[in-house]
Point group: C2
Chain length 102, copies 2
């Protein structure tokens, strides 16, 4: 399995962010080909020392890294990436990697 | 479900890091009470723009945030946290949050 982790830094308006994210962005991102599972953080993203500066972390599951690459290259993936830029007012970090259980 | 995401920045010696991580740290961390699943990145952690600066991302699964708090407070959790400080020579970021599927 591979993972795409999308980490949204605290936005200017968290209420507007959440409304847009769940009503508009999630339906767009769910169309990405090869997406097997889509998880989001619920409530605060914390660290052992306190607040994290991140508002929401999304984890998208794919079969493998080739599927992640195909997703980025697809029209649906490009639409989702372009949409991120419209609402991620605090900035966003994205990471992808192969994953295995230990 | 709740997640504890541990993001290790690129260490001074990646080979020594990996040896210690898998031979010593994983067995220590696996003893943390309430741990349901333990996933690690395999190979490079990438971003859409290229290398990420992170060497390894671990995702630990717990039933809920209360279980994460109990894990941090447990002797086994404290041993794992203390052990991290011995090998995370590049630095480490930790995040925990409730998680749901969308």
């Amino acid at each position: 399995m591979a993972r795409l982790v999308v980490m949204y830094r605290t936005p200017k308006d968290a209420v507007a962010f959440d409304k847009y994210y769940f009503e508009t962005h999630v339906p767009i991102a769910r169309k990405i080909p090869g997406l097997r599972k889509y998880e989001v953080s619920q409530g605060a993203v914390a660290t052992p020392a306190g607040p994290s500066g991140f508002h929401l972390i999304a984890t998208l599951h794919f079969d493998d890294l080739a599927a992640v690459q195909r997703a980025f290259a697809s029209p649906e993936g490009q639409a989702a990436a372009a949409d991120v830029q419209t609402f991620a007012s605090g900035g966003v970090d994205m990471f992808f990697f192969d994953s295995r259980e230990v």
